[in-house]
Symmetry: C2
Subunit: 125 residues, 2 copies
C-alpha cells in the first residue's frame, strides 16, 4: 500500500554540533532549501534539532545565542522501515515538518519531511 | 479522487505589512506553529511572502532589516478550486512548503502547506 520511510526520505543531511552560534547554524541552513538541522554529539548520535523556527524565535526575543540554548532536545525521529503513515502521524501530532531518520545506534541516516510526503501527490518520483 | 485545495487548506492566516521590522515578523510567526507569513498591501492584496527561512538568512548575513528587504515578491499561490495535485507540484517544483490561497482579487483567503498534504496520509481529518 504505502511506501516506508526509507523509500521517501532524503539521505544527504546537514548536521551541526551544539556549541556553535546560531548565525553559524543559519549559514548552514540557507546554503540549502531546508529548515531543519539535526544536532549531533561528538560520537555522531542525535542530541537535538534546531530549525529556522527556533532561529526566528531567537530574533523575536532579541537573543543571538548558542545552538545549545535554542535547540529542542526531545527529538521526534523515524525508523527507516516504518510506514509513512506513522511518520505522517508524528508530524501532525507535534505540528512539526521533519523527522530525522535514525539507525539502531541513534545515528542520523536521513531526514523525512512533510515536503517528501506531499511530493507523493505529484505523481513524480 | 483527490480533494481540492479548499478541502485541505487552513483559513486562519496571519498576514503582515511590508514596512515592519523582521523581529516584529518573527514575533508574529512564533506566536503560532507555522513558518510562512503572506505580506499584504494596504488594500489587502498579496504583495509578497516572508518565512522563517528568510529570517534565518538575515541572521546568517548579520542584517536585521525591514520585511520589504527580505521578502519574496514573486509569490506562488493556489486557487481554492484547484486539485491538490497541482498545489503539490508547485511546492515540489519551487522547494517551498506553503502556498497562500487567493480569491479572484488576489486577496488571501487561506494557506495550504506541505503539512496539510502530509496529514492526508494519517487517515485523520
Ligand atoms: C512547533 S514547530 C513549528 C514550525 C515548523 N513547521 C517546524 O517543524 O519547525 C517548531 C518547533 O518544533 C521543533 N521541531 C521541529 N522538528 C522537530 C522534531 N523532529 N522533533 C522535535 N522537535 C522538532 C523545533 O525545534 C521548534 O522548536
Ligand atoms: C526555497 S524555500 C526553502 C525553505 C522552506 N521550506 C520555505 O518554504 O520557506 C525558502 C524561500 O522560499 C520562499 N517561499 C516560501 N514560500 C513561497 C511561496 N509560496 N511563493 C514564493 N516564495 C516562497 C521564501 O520566501 C524563501 O525565500
Amino acid at each position: 500500500e504505502f511506501p516506508n520511510v526509507e523509500d521517501v526520505m532524503s539521505r544527504d543531511v546537514v548536521t551541526v554540533r551544539e556549541d556553535i552560534f546560531i548565525d553559524e547554524a543559519a549559514k548552514a541552513i540557507v546554503g540549502g532549501s531546508f529548515d531543519h538541522l539535526p544536532v549531533i554529539s561528538l560520537d555522531g548520535r542525535l542530541k537535538g534539532i534546531v530549525t529556522t523556527w527556533d532561529i526566528s524565535k531567537a530574533v523575536a526575543n532579541g537573543k543571538i545565542s548558542l545552538v545549545s540554548e535554542i535547540m529542542t532536545r526531545k527529538v521526534h525521529s523515524a525508523q527507516p522501515d516504518e510506514p509513512i503513515e506513522l511518520a505522517a502521524r508524528k508530524l501532525d501530532t507535534y505540528s512539526i515538518s521533519a523527522l530525522p531518520v535514525v539507525d539502531k545506534d541513534n545515528r542520523v541516516i536521513g531526514m523525512i519531511t512533510s515536503n517528501d510526503l506531499s511530493r507523493l501527490f505529484t505523481g513524480r518520483r
